[in-house]
């Protein structure tokens, strides 16, 4: 090992280069804290997220301000906001992973097939992608979520359905340039099948892009879920989500602003963390341009 470390000409691995960036480390720490908090929520909180406390409201029946008993105060039903925020992190992370994973999968498959098969399959897939680009994504998501009875999984599905387009376009561009390279032609001459070429020779080259877009995509997904839930068409109470905590407590917005701004800060912090890590990964792994998310 000492022999490897002593060689100054050997370039540092991507993980080490990532850890050299302060902002990326900051992002990783935030993500670790949120994941840890979400997993350990039952051991951290003193009150269950949907327990309506006997002493959880003031004598006038208003939410209580943050104090040593209730770290983030209580909400309109006298529930512990700290507990709801920690359990809400579970919702955000589940949606982030499931919805984003799904949209990454759809985007990669569409982009890969469209980029490799130049004929009518590619043309049809890319025209469909263009069509999806012309949809106002948020409006479409709100529409779909309002039409179906929203549940955690429906919300994840809706987000995946409006979110795969960007990934598909990036993967398409990279696949079409890879497909014309000599080593792919060589593989084909050697008799490799299409499936083998796609999976063993093209997909590995796309991995950096997929990792970068997957990380940045979690941030987009978290924001979309929060917005849908804030409008009341996302994850439904009593399941806590950072968006629906704000939705539920909006009426107390002027007298109890912490009920809006603590979950608001949580959303920004988590989305920011994934953006910071994603951006650093892009610099470390592969320099392709990004869109607005």
């Amino acid at each position: 090992m000492a022999f490897v470390a002593a060689d100054p000409t050997r370039p540092a691995g991507p993980i080490r280069r990532l850890l050299r960036r302060k902002l990326a480390v900051l992002g990783l720490v935030v993500i670790a804290l949120v994941v840890g908090g979400a997993l350990a929520a039952p051991y951290i909180v003193a009150h269950a997220p949907d327990e309506q406390m006997f002493d959880g409201l003031t004598l006038e029946g208003a939410p209580m301000a943050p104090s040593s008993v209730y770290l983030f105060g209580t909400d309109l039903l006298g529930r512990d906001l700290f507990s709801r925020i920690l359990y809400g992190a579970r919702t955000s992370l589940i949606i982030g992973v499931v919805a984003n994973g799904l949209s990454l999968l759809i985007g990669t498959i569409v982009g890969l097939l469209a980029g490799y098969f130049k004929g009518w399959i590619g043309a049809a897939l890319m025209r469909f992608t263009d069509l999806m680009m012309a949809f106002p994504a948020l409006l479409l998501a709100i529409c779909l979520a309002a039409i179906f009875q929203p549940s955690l999984w429906i919300v994840a599905l809706v987000i995946a359905l409006v979110n795969w387009v960007q990934t598909a376009r990036v993967i398409y561009t990279e696949t079409s340039s890879l497909a014309t390279r000599d080593f792919i032609a060589a593989e084909r001459t050697l008799g490799a099948g299409t499936g083998r070429i796609l999976i063993h020779h093209i997909l590995p080259h796309l991995l950096p892009t997929i990792i970068v877009w997957g990380t940045l995509g979690i941030s987009t997904t978290v924001l979309l879920e929060a917005t849908l839930s804030f409008l009341g068409v996302g994850v439904q109470p009593p399941t806590p989500s950072w968006g629906n905590i704000i939705f539920e407590n909006q009426t107390y917005f002027q007298s109890a602003p912490w009920l809006v701004f603590i979950p608001g800060a949580a959303i920004i912090l988590l989305a920011l963390a994934f953006n910071l890590v994603g951006d650093a990964l892009r610099d470390v792994l592969d320099p392709t341009q990004r869109g607005r998310g």
């Binding site: 012309a134 949809f135 529409c143 039409i147 704000i246 809006v260 608001g264 959303i267 953006n275």
Partner: protein, 306 residues
Amino acid sequence: MASYLLRRLIQSALILLGVAFITFFLLYVLPADPVRQIAGRSASPETVANIRRELGLDQPFIAQFLRYLGGLLHGDFGRSYLQKTQVAELIASRLPATLLLMAAGITCELALGLTMGIAAALTKGRFTDQILMMTSFVTVSAPQFVVSLLLLYVFAVQLSWFPVGGYGTFRHLVLPAVTLGILGSGWYARMMRSSMIEVMAADFIRTARAKGLTRARVVLRHALPNAILPVIAMIGIDIGVFMGGVVVVESVFAWPGIGQLAWQAIQRIDIPIIMAVTLVSAVAIVIGNLLADFIIPFIDPRIKIR
């Protein structure tokens, strides 16, 4: 050039047709029944059947879609299910408010974003640059409704500088427009920064410096005009994200535009209105993309039209 223009126009028309078809399909297969919504829960089966026939909802899907398309060609978006008015009239009465908000919002996002980007590029790698880039990260990570509520709380509730919501005077416009401006600024700041850095490294800038021009003149007369145009042309591509923001911002600030109209219609499953707003937004996006496609090669002749 002319044939490229024609091809892009036909492509755009096909895309709009596709958007119309998919939206119509989604709304047609939707599980919630608008007829029940109109007739009320206690309506007799005959009443329900009558309303269904009146709205043409008993006909096959394709027949309904073709009839809708036929109406569109005459500028007829159908009638609102609940308000009993022509959707075209509703849209026309709401559109000016949205266009005003969009114009103000885009102005704000450009003013904020371009300034941040230029300042960051000129202080590249130093403290100011790092703070500005961090700020741009925060703005792209903030959901529309949180920024809306934050500005509302600070400037309308606490300081009472601006009204809490509504429409009519310039003071009503400030908060929603600034909200949209802040939300979009980060994206423009990052693009402006990289465009500016790229231009500052170009040969003609070295020549200008070598001629002994002042730094201010090099930046303002030589670098800026070259760096700024490609970024401004990106507005066209940005319209889609912007339209989404408009829906949320209009609902929070009670701004009577098509975003608020859409949100109210979605809650009441008023299909003709949802259809119309989606189509109007899609038209805006397609026009924006077309403009970007044509303006970018015009600004920068190095980018060739395929």
